[in-house]
Amino acid sequence: MKPAPFVLHSPKTVSEAVAHLADIGEDGLVLAGGQSLVPMMALRVAYPSDLVDINGIEELQNISVENEELAIGATVRHARFYDPVEPGPLGRLLTSIVHHIAHHPIRERGTFCGSLAHADPASEWCLVAATLGAKLVLVSQTGERIVEAGEFIDGAMSTTREPTELLAQARLPLLAPSARAGFYEFNRRAGDFALGMALAAYDDDDGLMRNVRVGLGGIEDRAARNSAAEAVLEGQRPTQSLFADAGRAAAESVDPMEDATTSAEYRRDLTAVCVERALAAAAASSSAQTSR
């Protein structure tokens, strides 16, 4: 299980990196944390001619809050989220989610943006990005473009990134101080890929749910918001029975994946459970107003 040969490039700046990508073209890949890419190379299901290793580019290691957005550089590793990266509900939410991503040594290397670029349907960060409306900054030699996460993720392991582009940064809008957010993931063992998961967030408007966002991961071929569930909830009072209604609505609306060990029927069943439990977790979450 040794990777096929390739050429390794180790740029020190983004411009050097995108210059390499432009030179290499179709057969090159960006190497960030490598925690998904390197196994694929060892199994010889990925055969890049060249790898552009971005780990030495200092400007990509930053995380900051600018203009009500959390800006996450391309080599910010999962482990950075062990402690809240910002004091609001978003920081707390990301900290609660990061412990579901694989295992500790993987989190020390794997990156937030790498997860988005890999676009595994069961990626927690893809779910976060799709549900909360992340904006992704793609840089190439010809310039920069910003794409919504929903536009970026194009299917299972598929994105709209061009081979010459580097996903340099992800920008997540901060959650409102009154926001409540909850996450639920179902997997067979600790650290496994989710068989199903849901993320729910809403603003608490004097007891009514506003700006409801419900996303599903691991169920369909990509992480995405579920409008059927959101429609049930928007403007309503959060109750357990309403959460169950939302779960059922989501289950009826999804087009679940099927694989060697998991049927579409089972994933549809899980959809309702995940949505219901994520909403319950959101309702139970402390908002900034109550907990400070």
Partner: protein, 167 residues
Amino acid sequence: MERHPLNLTVNGKPYAVETEFRKTLADTLREDCGLTGTHVGCEHGVCGACTVVVEGKAVRSCLMFAHQAEGMEIETVESLEKEGELHVLQEAFAEHHALQCGFCTPGFLMLVKGAVERGEELSDAELRHLLSSNLCRCTGYQNIIRAVRAAIDTFKEKASAVPEAAR
């Protein structure tokens, strides 16, 4: 089979080697540095047998190419025994029968070394979650959990036993 020069610092010692870009850190430690205590169990990042510490962080050495570790400080299982004395973690593994075939053991030791040396207060669930990173087919984990717990306690005791002036 084009090889490229590479400098690594392993267990405080410099190594100048030449490897292909595609060679993993695990294979390089074993074959080029002669440090065969790091084991390769799955080569796809799941089993954790190859876990080593790079720049203070426990990572899978099968998921890093050696050239990515250029100039970095790497610690392997060979670093734990000091002048014939076992590390508290090694002592605890022996005392609590936390190893059988021993193939996964170096990975477990390097996985938890940091937590032990920091004297981390881990709940049972947190410790199990940390250990769930690595696979063992022999022990059923119970004795590994017991050993790590004991090692954390011993390390804390030893640290607090050092006289104030010596700290």
